[in-house]
Subunit: 282 residues, 4 copies
Amino acid sequence: MLKGLSKAGLGDVGDLMNFVQLTSKYKFEAIDIDGSSLIEMISSIGLERAKQFFQDHNVQIATFGLSVEWRKSEEEFIKGIKQLVLDAEAASALGCNSCTTYILPSTDYNAAQFMALATRRLRTCAQILGSYGIKLGLEFVGPHHLRTMWENPFIWTMEQTLDFIDAIGEKNVGLLVDAYHCYTTGVNYKDLTKLDVNQIVHVHINDAKAVPIEEVLDNDRLYPGEGVIDLVGFLQALKEIGYVGPVSQEVLTQQVLPESTELLLEKSAQAYATLYRAAGIE
Amino acid sequence: MLKGLSKAGLGDVGDLMNFVQLTSKYKFEAIDIDGSSLIEMISSIGLERAKQFFQDHNVQIATFGLSVEWRKSEEEFIKGIKQLVLDAEAASALGCNSCTTYILPSTDYNAAQFMALATRRLRTCAQILGSYGIKLGLEFVGPHHLRTMWENPFIWTMEQTLDFIDAIGEKNVGLLVDAYHCYTTGVNYKDLTKLDVNQIVHVHINDAKAVPIEEVLDNDRLYPGEGVIDLVGFLQALKEIGYVGPVSQEVLTQQVLPESTELLLEKSAQAYATLYRAAGIE
Amino acid sequence: MLKGLSKAGLGDVGDLMNFVQLTSKYKFEAIDIDGSSLIEMISSIGLERAKQFFQDHNVQIATFGLSVEWRKSEEEFIKGIKQLVLDAEAASALGCNSCTTYILPSTDYNAAQFMALATRRLRTCAQILGSYGIKLGLEFVGPHHLRTMWENPFIWTMEQTLDFIDAIGEKNVGLLVDAYHCYTTGVNYKDLTKLDVNQIVHVHINDAKAVPIEEVLDNDRLYPGEGVIDLVGFLQALKEIGYVGPVSQEVLTQQVLPESTELLLEKSAQAYATLYRAAGIE
Amino acid sequence: MLKGLSKAGLGDVGDLMNFVQLTSKYKFEAIDIDGSSLIEMISSIGLERAKQFFQDHNVQIATFGLSVEWRKSEEEFIKGIKQLVLDAEAASALGCNSCTTYILPSTDYNAAQFMALATRRLRTCAQILGSYGIKLGLEFVGPHHLRTMWENPFIWTMEQTLDFIDAIGEKNVGLLVDAYHCYTTGVNYKDLTKLDVNQIVHVHINDAKAVPIEEVLDNDRLYPGEGVIDLVGFLQALKEIGYVGPVSQEVLTQQVLPESTELLLEKSAQAYATLYRAAGIE
């Protein structure tokens, strides 16, 4: 499994090229990034040099975020399609075949109707991504406080998300499995090993504070290894089913952390090394 | 538009052949029926004689009800697929190209997850029906009391149902438009004329008592023309967009009506004649 | 039915705005155009003024040509997706909901494999177009000489094209029915009236020289009314099934015609008037 | 990988229960069978006893043949859907999640149109199978003499079959990879290792006579290990990409072989043991 980074919780990592250099310096192998940064980099130094830059630093693009606004009005949705195509073209040119988005666990819309709309809209996104050979990963979001943040409960479990994926019905749609959301929804080792590896598009790891699960906040995450989640078991389950893709940390925090970016990266690199070793991952 | 009958509210119409004879006697031209009755008739008198019988009586099969249980467990759903195929084969052999089901406006399941499941299941049904050249019509159900009969609100408006149809994503899925449900959800003449005629799979007419709309009960319907619904406007809207298919009455009542079946049919035939004339339908 | 023009056979019609003015001057109501011209017009005078310009001239955009290269390499196909999205966005902003492409009746590829590739590629195009509410019309191409122009026979009949559309399997895909191709493939009045009107995305009319059908050349067309095709019957069949969309002329010729553009437009306007009158079209 | 048997080339293996007993006796672990035999067994001894019987003999159902006639008229195709559902229900009840069919490399139909028809028909089959959790495997057929047996060339390579699968567009459709057809179409070790394991639904092994590849006949196969195909390399490639499903022999021969069924099974069991050992498969 590739060690991956997102920008979350790292402080100021600079522009994309700087972020890649930092990623490389601390022996991470992949990044989660937005499509706009990729487009900007290509337009700034050209596609060939951009490819070379990633290659020289031994860094891959793990995934890019779905920029389309599929949670609001039809008008906003349609407006976003062009950007999706631009993102997909740039990402695919740079060898990335994964795009991801998260599902908020409540909504101000009628939940059933919103599921119908979301199914059709994400199908359209998946179809467009599919034409570039890109998969779409859906991230279920577990923290309990978000389940009542908007008027109506939507979905937040892995099983519901798999039903959502079936409703979408496109072969390039799968899960983004995040350890934080597994923890807050009670997904255990055994649940994970029941997955077929090709149902997984991307993986996130984070850690949680030692508070009752119902009180775990979405934007109050710890660095891997600093909290109470059994990340070794999590990684072992993924290993057992043959997952070899990227595992990116995404440490959403309420305030910018006081440590320097480089210190945080060093800490994280050590945590990954420890976890991978404990999980028997080369 | 073809004048159609369902068995609802007619008392005992006997077996299918008797029902067809009664339908014919009162100059109705189409019936809503279940697939099992069709299979039974074919197995009893043979396909060719069954076809001839319908033809001799100038009666068509407007639609058959979807027998698959798509609202409960996955196991029950899968068990019903075989019967669906048998129904579809029989119906299609008898020249029927329409199957319909209704959507209850509330559910004990998580509404969003149930929409995901329902989308996938009705897609499967639509695909199977499609292989026999049969359309699937979804009936939104308007009465307010049903919106809280089960734990979570589901969907009940025409617009939501069109979103559901889009989520299913199969080209042979459309609406069953029922005047009673249009009345109880506020669908007016103008809303109906915005539809493309090929979005309509089937039409029901009924009438409603003069009580506040919020108090209209699903199983307390009146014969067409006896209540407060503007059925002439309803039919005119359908005419305006070019609908020429069947319009079946479906008079769900709390008790069996005291009148004889033949009296009820005569009353209904006169009501249809009056309505069609007023709506300018030949 | 709207009287429509394509640029073919009209000589130099100038830029898009000039073409719209000419279209309007001769009482035509719709144009077939490429997406790039629409994008250019919007970027030149702005979307609102562009919409106003079309409205002021009482001209609609009947259809825009599919710019994606779906007949060659996968690489070329994918490269074209971005332009398709730009075209679709521009067209839909200007109220156009139709995109069309033609099917060459022979191919240098293995015909079966090419059908598989074309099915998948046009499905992708249809899905993208569908997200903008745009239909995709496929034009079968009849002239016999093209059936052997490339190594392997592909498809050229209406029935084959309907099978192709079924293989694509998207609900927004239908036919572009061209009188010239109906003539050269023997599609008669009765065949046309068997279509459901929503299977037709767009219509072309042209006329053919009085030579044996096998010798009719694709780029040797006559103006409507000048040749041997029964265009009145063609239009009557379309009228009978309820077609009310655009009917565009597309007069492909081997040389630029000697008459001036305005003379050609006047001739065509008269021909349309005569044909429409004879076919009983208002 | 499971050692599997089909009935081909084994002489008279008796009824299904007898075949299972023989399979078990020679330590094979899976069988390729037709759905009708499964239905018959269930109707004869009941589902629970049937399941127990397979379990007691440590034999799985590797795959059942697609009984629908998708290569001829539309009427025949539709007639077969009912049987497909019955087959799928029986197979799925017995724990089988794979159905397979072969693609003849030439056809009397227009090849492109037939591809369109086949795409739509196999999509319908895949959708029905999918509702039972069953995959559909397509077997490309390599022997050269079959490429000209019917009027028009169809498809016979793995790459073409993958394009066909993409055209069908359902997520439960993949390849049946047969060593004989790989040999006769030049699919090598490297080609196989480029596959994603979830693209493979089933695997066949057979061996070929030492004649020029162009002269290899479809129904003149040898037992694994008796011919010239590099089956060790074939199995190693499958192992490399993580294939762990059944590998069934299917020895089509021109005459019934002179050896007894048990002798043939013993020979085959030894051949499998040798091959698996050589390929490093436990």
